[in-house]
C-alpha cells in the first residue's frame, strides 16, 4: 500500500465527489453519508500513514514518481516528510470532522458535498506534491470549490466575501506562478522538481531591472504565501471569509488553508532560497510580532464571536512566523525550538481553531446569532450595545465545558497543546531576536483578555431568559468535537508523538538554510 498511499489520499475524495454526482438529485441524506464514508476512509489512511511513518529520516517517504508532461519535465511526484506529515493528518482529520459538522446542510447538499470533497483533494494534493507544477495545480484546484462553498452556502454577505477571497488569493497565485516560471527557466536543467531545485535554485544569478532575480522570486513567493497565512497587512480577507463561510468551511479555512501559507514558505521558499530566507528572517520576525499583537488587539474589539475567533487566528499564526524566523538563531537549540514549535503550532492551531469554529457553529445553529455584544447599529434599537447571551453555563454545561477548553487552549494554558508550541516559538524567537520577542510575549496577555471577556459575556452572569430554551450539545456535536479535544489535551501533556515526526526534518531544513545544522558537512 505504501507506494500508492498518497495517491489514494488525494484521489479518494475525488472518487467520493464522482460517486455523489452519480447519485441522482433529491436523495436527501445520501450525499452526507457518502461524504462521511470517503473522508472517514481517508482519515484511516492518514492514520496508517502516521503509524508507518519513519521518524528517523528527513528523506521523503511513500514517494511516487510518474512522468506527466515530458517536454517540460513536469512530473507526478509525491512524498511526505516531517513537515507535510502533520499537515496531511490535519487535513484528513478536519475534513472528516467538517463533513460531520455539515450534517444539517439542506441547501443543495449534492453540490455542497461534492465540492467539499474536491476541496479536500486539493488541500491534500498541495501537502504531498514534490513538483512545483503539481503543487500549483492543486493550489488552484482548491480555490474554486472554496469560492462556491462560501458564495452559495455562506452568510448574508457571502458573494462579497467569496469574490474578495477569490480575487485576493488569485492575486497571490499569479505572483506564485511567475515565481514558478522564473525558477523553471533560470534553473539548469529546467525543472519543476522541488528536490532538484534545492540544489539548482541557489545557483541562479540573474539581474532583472537592477534586482537580483532570486530576491524577485522570493518576494513573489512571499506575497503569494503571505496572503494565505495571512500576514499583516494582507489579512483582511480573512475575517470576512471566515465569518461568511458556513461552519465547516470556516473550519477548513482556518484549520488547513492558513497553514498552506507557512507550509509553502517552509517547503519552497526556505530550502530553495536559503540566503533570502536568512536575510529576510528579521523582517519575518517583525511581521510575526505584528501579527500577534495586531490580531489580538483586533480580536479584543470584536462584537461578533466568529469575527473574534477569526482575528485570533491572525494572532496565533504570528507565533508560527516568529518561530520560523528563529531559523537564523545563533544557538542551534533555539533554531530547533523555533522551527519545531512553528510546525507544531501549525498543527495545534489547526485543531484549536477548528474546535473554536465548530463551537461557534453549535451556538449559531440554535440561536441564529453570535453577538458577544449587539452592534451599535443593530436593527433592533432596544438591543443595541446589549450583551448577546449571558449565563449560558447554567443550562449548557457541556457546551460551556468545550468552549472553556478551547478558549483556554487558545490563550495558551499549559497542559493544552497551544502552550507548548507557542512557548517553543517564543523561546526560539528569543534566542534570535530578543526585543521583538519580548514585545511578542504581550500576546500572552492580549489573547487571554479577549477569550476571558468572551467567556464571561456569553457564559457567566445571570442566565438570560431569552436563551433559556437553548439545548446543550447533541451527541453528534459531542462526537465531532471529542477527538479534537482529546488531541488538544494529549499533545498538551505529551507532545512527543507530534514532535518526533517533525524534528528530523526540521534539523535538515535548518541545515539547508543556515548550513550550520547538525548535519552540516555530511
Amino acid at each position: 500500500m505504501g507506494a500508492y498511499v498518497l495517491t489514494i489520499l488525494v484521489f479518494l475524495p475525488v472518487l467520493g465527489a464522482a460517486v455523489i454526482l452519480l447519485v441522482p438529485k433529491g436523495r436527501g441524506t445520501w450525499y452526507r453519508w457518502i461524504g462521511a464514508a470517503f473522508t472517514g476512509l481517508q482519515l484511516l489512511f492518514a492514520v496508517w500513514l502516521y503509524a508507518a511513518f519513519d521518524t528517523s529520516t528527513s528523506a521523503f517517504q511513500f514517494t511516487q514518481l510518474a512522468v506527466w508532461i515530458e517536454q517540460f519535465d513536469i512530473n507526478y511526484h509525491m512524498g511526505v516528510d516531517g513537515l507535510s506529515m502533520p499537515m496531511v493528518f490535519l487535513t484528513a482529520l478536519l475534513s472528516f470532522v467538517s463533513v460531520i459538522a455539515s450534517w444539517n446542510i439542506t441547501k443543495a447538499p449534492r453540490g455542497y458535498f461534492s465540492l467539499f470533497l474536491l476541496l479536500d483533494a486539493g488541500m491534500m494534493g498541495v501537502f504531498v506534491s514534490l513538483d512545483f507544477f503539481l503543487f500549483y495545480v492543486f493550489w488552484e484546484v482548491m480555490l474554486l470549490p472554496m469560492y462556491f462553498l462560501i458564495g452559495i452556502w455562506g452568510g448574508p454577505q457571502r458573494q462579497y466575501a467569496a469574490i474578495k477571497f477569490f480575487l485576493y488569493t488569485l492575486f497571490g497565485s499569479v505572483l506564485m506562478l511567475l515565481a514558478m516560471l522564473a525558477l523553471y527557466f533560470y534553473s539548469e536543467p529546467h525543472t519543476f522538481s522541488l528536490i532538484t531545485l534545492i540544489t539548482e535554485a541557489p545557483k541562479i544569478s540573474v539581474i532583472l531591472w537592477g534586482f537580483d532575480m532570486k530576491w524577485l522570486i522570493w518576494f513573489a513567493l512571499f506575497i503569494g504565501f503571505a496572503i494565505k497565512v495571512p500576514i499583516f497587512p494582507f489579512h483582511t480577507w480573512l475575517p470576512l471569509a471566515h465569518v461568511e463561510a458556513p461552519t465547516a468551511v470556516s473550519v477548513i479555512l482556518a484549520g488547513v488553508l492558513l497553514k498552506m501559507g507557512t507550509y509553502g514558505m517552509l517547503r519552497i521558499s526556505y530550502p530553495l532560497l536559503p540566503d533570502q530566507a536568512t536575510a529576510f528572517a528579521f523582517s519575518l520576525a517583525v511581521l510575526g510580532v505584528i501579527n500577534i499583537i495586531w490580531g489580538a488587539a483586533n480580536a479584543i474589539a470584536q462584537e461578533d464571536l466568529k469575527r473574534m475567533v477569526a482575528y485570533s487566528s491572525i494572532s496565533h499564526m504570528g507565533f508560527v512566523l516568529l518561530g520560523m524566523a528563529a531559523v537564523v538563531s545563533p544557538s542551534l537549540g533555539g533554531a530547533q525550538a523555533g522551527m519545531n514549535g512553528a510546525v507544531l503550532q501549525m498543527f495545534n492551531h489547526g485543531c484549536i481553531t477548528a474546535t473554536l469554529f465548530l463551537l461557534v457553529g453549535v451556538i449559531y445553529d440554535q440561536a441564529h446569532h453570535r453577538y458577544l455584544y449587539y452592534p451599535k447599529d443593530y436593527e433592533d434599537e432596544a438591543l443595541r450595545g446589549q450583551v448577546g447571551f449571558g449565563g449560558l453555563a447554567t443550562h449548557m454545561p457541556i457546551f460551556a465545558g468545550f468552549i472553556a477548553l478551547s478558549f483556554f487552549a487558545g490563550l495558551g494554558l499549559p497542559a493544552l497543546s497551544g502552550f507548548i508550541s507557542e512557548a517553543m516559538c517564543l523561546i526560539g524567537g528569543f534566542t534570535a531576536f530578543r526585543t521583538l520577542t519580548i514585545i511578542g510575549t504581550l500576546g500572552i496577555l492580549l489573547n487571554a483578555t479577549y477569550f476571558l471577556r468572551a467567556f464571561q459575556t456569553m457564559f457567566l452572569g445571570e442566565p438570560n431568559e431569552k436563551w433559556a430554551g437553548l439545548k446543550d450539545m447533541s451527541a453528534r456535536e459531542i462526537g465531532m468535537l471529542a477527538p479534537l479535544a482529546v488531541i488538544i489535551i494529549l499533545l498538551g501533556v505529551y507532545p512527543r508523538p507530534a514532535l518526533q515526526v517533525i524534528s528530523v526534518t526540521m534539523d535538515y531544513l535548518i541545515q539547508l538554510v543556515t548550513a550550520v545544522g547538525p548535519m552540516a558537512g555530511m
Binding site: G333, F419, M424, G461
Partner: protein
C-alpha cells in the same frame, strides 16, 4: 525508612491523587452525588499521610535531596524534562499544602452544602491541589510555570464558582489577567536564563551561575539582575505584591474555604516559594528590588486593612500585607525567615479565614431564617456580640489574631521576629539612610496588623449585636467546620514549630533544623551565609523588645477604640477624612480607579481604534478601493472601447468611407467635360506642389 524509589512513588501519588479526585468529581460526580465529596476528602487525607511520612523520615535524619526526572520531549538540542525537586523545603511545603487543603476539603462539606455545583466545586479543589503540589515539586522553572498557570486556572474557576454574580465573574477574570501580567515577565526571565545558561532546572541554574564554579553570567551580572527581577515579576502577580496586588481582595468573591486555601495559605504563597527557590541566584540589586516591593506591599496592605468593613476584605488585605513581609524577608536575605513565615502564616491565616467563614455561614443562615436577604452577612457592622453564640469560632479566631499580631507563645511571634531581625540586620549592614526604611516598614506594619486584627475581633465578637433578633438565631457551626478550626488553632502555637524544643521565645526546633539559610551563589560578601546568620543573631534581642512594644501598642489601641470605646472610631475617622487619609485607605489608595482610567479604558479605546483602522480604513477603504477602482477602470475602458474606439474611431472610419463614397458617386457624372476639368485641376495641383519643393 523511605528509599529513593518509594519517595518518587509518594511524590507521584501526592501529585496525582488530587487530579484523580478532579476527574472523578467532574465526570462521574453524579454517581455518588454530594456523598462523593468524602472521596475527595479521603484522597487529600492520603496525601497528608504520605507527606507527613516524608517529613518524619526527614526529621529522623534521612537525607532527601535528589531530583528524579524524565524526558518530556526533545527536538535536537532543545529538550525539556519533568521532574521532582525533593528537598527539605519542598517536603515541608507539601505538608503545609496537604494540611490546609485537606482541612479546607473537610470544612467545605458543610460550608458548601446545598450548593448547585457541589461536586464540581470539589473537583476544582482537587485540580487546585494537584497544580499546587506541582509547583512545590517542580524541579525546573518551566515546569513550575506550567503548574503556575494551572493554579491560575483553578483560582479562576473557584473565584467564579458563583458565576451568576457579575462581581464573581469579574473577579475571576481580573485575577487571571492580572496574574498574566506578571507571568509575561516570568516567562521572559525564564527565556533569558535559558538563553544564557541553557538550563531550565533549579539545580542546573544553581550550578551554572555559581561564582565558585564558573558563572555563565560572568561579566554581565546586570543581565542576571534583570533575569532575576523578571522571574520575580511572576511572584509579584501570584503573591499579590504591589503594584499587582489588586486582584486578591476581589478574589474574596469565591467561597470562603477557597479564600482560606488558595488566596491566603497556599497559592498566593507560591510567589514567595518561587522567590525563595530563586534566592541563590538573585543578585544584591535584584534582592533590593524584591525587598522594596515587599516592604511597600506590607505597609500598603496593612494601611488599607484598617478601614475595611467586610470581614473577608480585612483578611484579604492582611494577606497582602503578610505576603509583603515574606517577600521583603527574601529581599533582606532572610529567606529562611520568609519560608518560616510562609509556613506559620498558612496555618494562622487559613485559620482566620475559616473562622470568618464560620461567622459568615452562621450569620447567613440566621438572616435567611429571619427572611432577610438584603443585609450583607460579610459586613462586620452587621455582626457584634457573637462571642457567646459561637464560642469555638471565637476562641480559635482569637488565637489566630494573637498569632498574626506576633504575641509570644504563638508561631507568628517567632516567624515575624525572624523577618524583623532580618530587616534590622540589613539596616545595620547598609550604612545609608534608606536602609532604615525596611525595619520601619516592618515594625510599622506589625503595629497596624495588631490593631486591625483586634478591631476585627472586637467588631465581630464583642459589643452589642447589630440585630438582636438575628443574633438569637446564630449558632455555632457543626463539627466538620469546627474541627478544622481547632486543628489549625493548635497548629498556630509556637510549640508545633519548635518541637522538640519547648522554649516559646526560641525558634530552635525541627523547623529550624530542617530549613536552613540558603547560600547565595552570586558571589557578594554581604550575602554570604555566615555574614547573614551573624547579622540576624545580633539583631535578635532588639527585635524581641521592639516587637513586644509594637504588638502591644496595636492591640491596646484596638482595645481603646473598639472594646472600651474610650476613643470614638467614627470621630477619628472624621478627623482623618479631613486630611484625606481615611478616604485613601478606605478606597484602597484608588489603585483600581487609576488602573481603569490610565490603563484599561485607554487600552480598550486603542483596540477600538485599531479595529477601525484595520477594517473600516484599511480593508473597506483601501483594499476595496482597488476593487472599486478596477470596476471604474473597467467601466472607463468599456466606455473608451465602445463609445470612443468603436463608435467614433471604427464607425468613424466607416462613415468617412461612406461619405467619400457619396462624394465619389457625385463625381461619377458620366460627362467627359467634367472628367477633363478634374484631371486639369489635379494636374495643376501636382505642378504647384512639385514646384514648391
Amino acid at each position: 525508612m523511605v528509599t529513593v524509589h518509594t519517595l518518587t512513588l509518594y511524590g507521584l501519588i501526592i501529585l496525582f491523587l488530587p487530579l484523580v479526585s478532579f476527574v472523578y468529581q467532574i465526570f462521574f460526580g453524579r454517581v455518588l452525588g454530594p456523598r462523593g465529596a468524602w472521596l475527595s476528602v479521603g484522597a487529600l487525607a492520603v496525601t497528608l499521610v504520605l507527606s507527613l511520612t516524608m517529613l518524619v523520615s526527614l526529621f529522623m535524619g534521612h537525607e532527601i535531596a535528589f531530583t528524579p526526572e524524565v524526558l518530556w520531549f526533545t527536538v535536537g538540542d532543545f529538550s525539556l524534562t519533568l521532574g521532582f525537586q525533593f528537598d527539605n523545603i519542598s517536603v515541608v511545603m507539601l505538608v503545609v499544602v496537604a494540611i490546609i487543603s485537606s482541612l479546607a476539603h473537610l470544612y467545605s462539606i458543610e460550608y458548601m452544602r446545598g450548593d448547585v455545583r457541589y461536586t464540581r466545586y470539589f473537583g476544582y479543589l482537587g485540580l487546585f491541589t494537584f497544580s499546587m503540589n506541582g509547583i512545590v515539586l517542580a524541579h525546573s522553572l518551566i515546569m513550575m510555570y506550567v503548574f503556575w498557570e494551572l493554579v491560575g486556572l483553578s483560582s479562576y474557576l473557584l473565584i467564579g464558582h458563583w458565576f451568576e454574580k457579575d462581581s464573581a465573574a469579574d473577579a475571576g477574570k481580573k485575577a487571571f489577567l492580572t496574574n498574566r501580567v506578571g507571568d509575561i515577565g516570568m516567562f521572559i526571565g525564564i527565556m533569558l536564563l535559558w538563553t544564557v545558561t541553557g538550563s531550565f532546572t533549579f539545580q542546573g541554574l544553581y550550578e551554572l551561575i555559581d561564582v565558585e564554579s564558573g558563572n555563565m553570567f560572568a561579566g554581565q551580572m546586570g543581565l542576571l539582575t534583570i533575569a532575576g527581577v523578571l522571574v520575580f515579576l511572576g511572584a509579584i502577580g501570584k503573591s499579590a505584591q504591589f503594584p499587582l496586588h489588586i486582584w486578591l481582595p476581589d478574589a474574596m468573591e469565591g467561597p470562603t474555604p477557597v479564600s482560606a486555601l488558595i488566596h491566603a495559605a497556599t497559592m498566593v504563597a507560591a510567589g514567595v516559594y518561587l522567590t525563595v527557590r530563586m534566592f541563590p541566584i538573585l543578585t544584591p540589586d535584584a534582592l533590593l528590588v524584591v525587598g522594596t516591593i515587599g516592604a511597600i506591599t506590607a505597609v500598603l496592605g496593612a494601611l488599607i486593612a484598617i478601614t475595611q468593613n467586610d470581614i473577608k476584605r480585612v483578611l484579604a488585605y492582611s494577606t497582602v500585607s503578610q505576603l509583603g513581609y515574606m517577600i521583603m524577608a527574601v529581599g533582606m536575605g532572610a529567606q529562611q525567615a520568609a519560608f518560616f513565615h510562609l509556613s506559620t502564616h498558612a496555618m494562622f491565616k487559613g485559620l482566620l479565614f475559616l473562622c470568618s467563614g464560620s461567622v459568615i455561614h452562621a450569620l447567613h443562615h440566621a438572616l435567611v431564617h429571619e427572611g432577610d436577604h438584603s443585609t450583607d452577612h460579610q459586613d462586620m457592622r452587621n455582626m457584634g456580640g457573637l462571642r457567646s453564640k459561637m464560642p469555638i469560632t471565637y476562641i480559635t479566631m482569637l488565637i489566630g489574631a494573637l498569632t498574626i499580631s506576633g504575641v509570644p507563645l504563638f508561631s507568628g511571634f517567632l516567624s515575624k521576629d525572624a523577618i524583623l531581625a532580618g530587616t534590622l540586620a540589613f539596616a545595620h549592614e547598609h550604612h545609608v539612610w534608606w536602609a532604615n526604611l525596611f525595619p520601619i516598614a516592618g515594625f510599622g506594619a506589625a503595629a497596624i496588623t495588631a490593631f486591625y486584627m483586634f478591631r476585627l475581633i472586637f467588631m465581630t465578637f464583642h459589643g452589642k449585636p447589630a440585630n438582636a433578633k438575628v443574633n438569637a438565631h446564630v449558632h455555632e457551626s457543626p463539627a466538620v467546620m469546627t474541627i478544622p478550626l481547632m486543628t489549625l488553632a493548635v497548629l498556630s502555637f509556637a510549640l508545633f514549630f519548635t518541637l522538640p524544643g519547648l522554649n516559646p521565645m526560641s525558634a530552635e526546633g525541627w523547623f529550624a533544623h530542617l530549613i536552613h539559610q540558603m547560600e547565595n551563589l552570586t558571589g557578594y560578601a554581604a550575602l554570604s551565609w555566615e555574614h547573614l546568620e551573624h547579622g540576624f543573631h545580633e539583631a535578635h534581642h532588639l527585635t524581641v523588645q521592639l516587637s513586644f512594644a509594637v504588638a502591644g501598642t496595636g492591640i491596646m489601641l484596638a482595645i481603646v477604640f473598639y472594646l472600651l470605646g474610650w476613643l470614638s472610631p467614627a470621630a477619628w475617622a472624621e478627623r482623618l477624612k479631613k486630611a484625606g487619609l481615611y478616604q485613601a485607605s478606605f478606597h484602597k489608595f484608588y489603585f483600581d480607579e487609576i488602573y481603569d482610567k490610565v490603563l484599561y479604558q485607554p487600552f480598550l479605546w486603542l483596540t477600538d481604534k485599531i479595529a477601525w483602522l484595520d477594517w473600516d480604513w484599511w480593508d473597506q477603504r483601501f483594499i476595496d478601493s482597488w476593487g472599486r477602482n478596477t470596476v471604474k477602470a473597467g467601466n472607463a475602458s468599456g466606455w473608451v472601447d465602445y463609445f470612443w474606439l468603436d463608435q467614433i474611431v471604427i464607425d468613424g472610419i466607416g462613415r468617412i468611407i461612406r461619405w467619400m463614397g457619396a462624394v465619389g458617386r457625385k463625381m461619377q457624372t458620366g460627362r467627359i467635360q467634367n472628367y477633363l476639368m478634374w484631371a486639369l485641376a489635379g494636374g495643376l495641383i501636382i505642378l504647384v506642389l512639385a514646384n514648391s519643393f
